[in-house]
């Protein structure tokens, strides 16, 4: 089957998709977007967390056919998504998921992910949560990082001043085996603090 949907603001078509394929498989193997990680394929680890019409989901649990005509944001588009949100007064997401003053769907679709310097990552424009993960030492092997970033970014959108308990609850669907989570908490606190200072 053919699946047509938007990924990081860009229209994408995937052909010859087998009905059993997940959104994760289509992103990784058909669209050249391997940032979303496959670590369990059963919705336990959160490594493949993407936003589907603004809502965080495990891409491994979404059948490819379900995304027809819908909007997906992956870690590859997170920086532009955050930039657009900042420009739009704090909400880049789908109507209804970010309060009544949110950006319209059309407005949210204005932005498009740009290629970054893929040799070293230098010069890449990062979302505040991405920069905070680097600065706080929240990245070790990095396999859980994309999913955590998408989940944490979504939480900060809903709750700009989270308590530690709020952060833990929001990120409880994302497993990390390297860090013991302390530096991930640091990173989210840092991003929240920078967000409130910069606002």
């Amino acid at each position: 089957m053919r699946v047509t949907f938007r990924v990081n603001g860009r229209r994408q078509e995937a052909d010859d998709v087998w009905e059993g394929e997940s959104l994760l498989y289509v992103l990784r193997e058909r669209l050249g977007l391997p940032g979303s990680k496959n670590a369990c394929e059963q919705g336990e680890c959160g490594s493949c967390t993407v936003r589907l019409d603004g809502v965080p989901v495990c891409a491994c649990l979404v059948a490819a056919g379900q995304v027809e005509g819908r909007d997906v944001v992956t870690v590859e588009g997170l920086a532009d998504y955050a930039k657009e949100r900042a420009a739009g007064g704090g909400c880049a997401t789908h109507p209804g998921s970010c309060g009544t003053a949110g950006t319209s769907l059309d407005a949210a679709r204005r932005w498009e992910a740009r290629p970054t310097d893929s040799a070293t990552g230098e010069g890449a424009q990062l979302a505040p949560i991405q920069q905070a993960f680097i600065d706080a030492g929240a990245v070790q092997c990095g396999f859980c990082t994309p999913g955590l970033l998408v989940a944490a970014d979504e939480m900060l959108e809903r709750n700009p001043n989270p308590s530690d308990a709020d952060i833990r609850e929001a990120l409880s669907g994302n497993l990390c085996r390297c860090t013991g989570y302390e530096k991930i908490l640091d990173a989210v606190r840092l991003a929240a603090a920078r967000q409130s200072e910069g606002a």
């Binding site: 990784r28 391997p34 670590a39 092997c141």
Partner: protein, 794 residues
Amino acid sequence: MGTTGTPTNLTQGSRTSGGIGESTLRPDGTLKVTGDFAYSSDMWHEDMLWGHILRSPVAHAEIVSIDTSEALAQPGVYAVMTYDDLPTDVRNYGLEIQDTPVLANGRVRHHGEPVAIVAADHPETARRAAAKIRVEYRELPVVTDEASATAPDAPVLHPGRADHHAPHVPHPNIVHRQPILRGDVAEARRRADVIVEGEYVFGMQDQAFLGPESGLAVPAEDGGVDLYIATQWLHADLRQIAPVLGLPEDKVRMTLAGVGGAFGGREDLSMQIHACLLALRTGKPVKIVYNRFESFFGHVHRHPARLYYEHGATRDGKLTHLKARIVLDGGAYASSSPAVVGNAASLGAGPYVVDNVDIEAVALYTNNPPCGAMRGFGAVQACFAYEAQMDKLAAKLGMDPVEFRQLNAMEQGSLMPTGQVVDSPAPVAELLRRVKAMPMPPERQWVTTEGADVRQLPGGLSNTTHGEGVVRGVGYAVGIKNVGFSEGFDDYSTARVRMEVVGGEPVATVHTAMAEVGQGGVTVHAQIARTELGVTQVTIQPADTQVGSAGSTSASRQTYVTGGAVKNACELVREKVLEIGRRKFGSSHPAWATAELLLEGGKVVTDGGEALADLADVLEGEAVEVEEVWRHRPTEPFDLRTGQGFGHVQYSFAAHRAVVEVDTELGLVKVIELACAQDVGKALNPLSVVGQIQGGTTQGLGMAVMEEIVVDPKTAKVRNPSFTDYLIPTILDTPTIPVDVLELADEHAPYGLRGVGEAPTLSSTPAVLAAIRAATGLALDRTPVRPEHLTGTA
């Protein structure tokens, strides 16, 4: 990710300033947060096929027949291979003992053993074709523990063993046996005022790295193969892969792809040979990615163990003796069992002075899943037992458990039970003091103005209690781990360092085969180069087999050994740079001949700080490159009969204090805080050091309260190969982990550093167990603790 065929995004460049001792940021951080970092499972190639492995559904059986014809006939299937299709007579592999079949040879010895491999144009096609391979099994009786493995009529798992441990083991189903004998235990036992005994059970833990086993094998025009792979030691893989393929090692070119964690689970081969075989058979690139279910069968686990301990002490609290027997279940194949035995035995007394010791450690061959390396490597199991013993002794003597430990703590100059002198700082008592001195978390922290915050309580969001039936306990533990490969192993690393001018700026390039698995070795290598060579810009080349071996990313050794090799190569480069400088500018200033010269801030400077020349001018038109092997001081094997010997190059120590709250009605545990104090010698990168300590601590927490691969004792089949059923700590399960880092230099090590990664994994588990015992008053002689152990319904 490349679209033209060759995987890219493996180079990690850096312009971050900062030498050793600074918390510089990871050079691969940006790639990892943007999703651009190329992990082994992200590899892609035009015209690529997908490999899949058919595994045994039973633990022990003869293979009567295999029929691959229907699988081969499936559209989209390019190859199906079994044992009979292997290209050479080398059909086994193994880290130390080559007892592991590449594909089953007429017999399977554990649940999940590879039987056949398939290559197809879609992963699902490969999976479905594998399901159409008809294998007829004739089941054999299973051996699953010491009694069944060493019974007179036990089936021998590896008949005709010719390995070097075979002559000294008491039964062919025992991989290796290491006694440690010192002093006179019988005499000391008579002097003991108190004696405590215990039998402890340690469950089977999984590394549960998040990035599944995966890689891409690309056949080359010269008949060789290029392999992009996540591993812990490229050259050890190469040594095992090439003979099976019938290729010289220089035709198997390996490049480290992004590694999604390791923790020991990537020391053994997984899909490497299978992918290469299929690539060479089909002439097409072949990618294999395990899913999580397969990953649980695709790598070795931490040895489960039974540990029998007897300690004695005098009335005033001095240890008199230790008798211990440690039985490790190595499962169906040897993997690193012999070295795990050596560790468990030699570190079995813990960080304590005990003059009279009789320890025996053995590893079994059984039909359980193969076990091998995992963070802590034999020392973890022992620490669980001896720390429980310390608490029992203190209780029996009416002493404070921390003071009792401090009274018996080893220090610099103490003798190990192996007779080895601990010849660098061993601040065991100090670490306990520090961790005890940390402020305690507040009581009843779940109370809020709006009632109980269930997220802070045992059971969490399941909302099982608002504080009713909840009791608090505090527990302590301390452990000792060896750093580096031991027992006489030639534990070297190689580093190639190049210095040149690029764009008018001096640039250092560091090339090693070190597997960066997340630990931050790449960060540290750049820091070392900046410190030694005075440059800002350092490029870390991708790790591959085009440079000499860097040894394994394990045993807490990489910063010590490959870091040492980078430091050594930088020093040699510096000498050559100074030679060029003297040649070019020596006549311009007398200090070129007379002063001690350093490279700092892009200049050649005297030890008095006077700048003599810009490095850019010295290196104009000339590049300097050095590749050199570096070794730590040698160790020696343990005597096979007495266990005496200078077996370990360095020790590392960590102590934990656990604070837990237990819902005694439901048997649910919430760890409130897990404080750690560790001596790291020198923190080359403090941010990364703390990250290692917190990560290791959390894996120990998992082992205490949730993580266990459950194997059916009747069938030896794995019951819980998924993240639904094998639980690892989430952010809700993991408490605050305050860390106190002590830096007492080891004069034998580069910069005085001490390996960091493993020690915190040791003491974390027994500290949590001690806290649960303190809260509940239960004996709890097994880990992990499950609710039924706390409610009396087990």
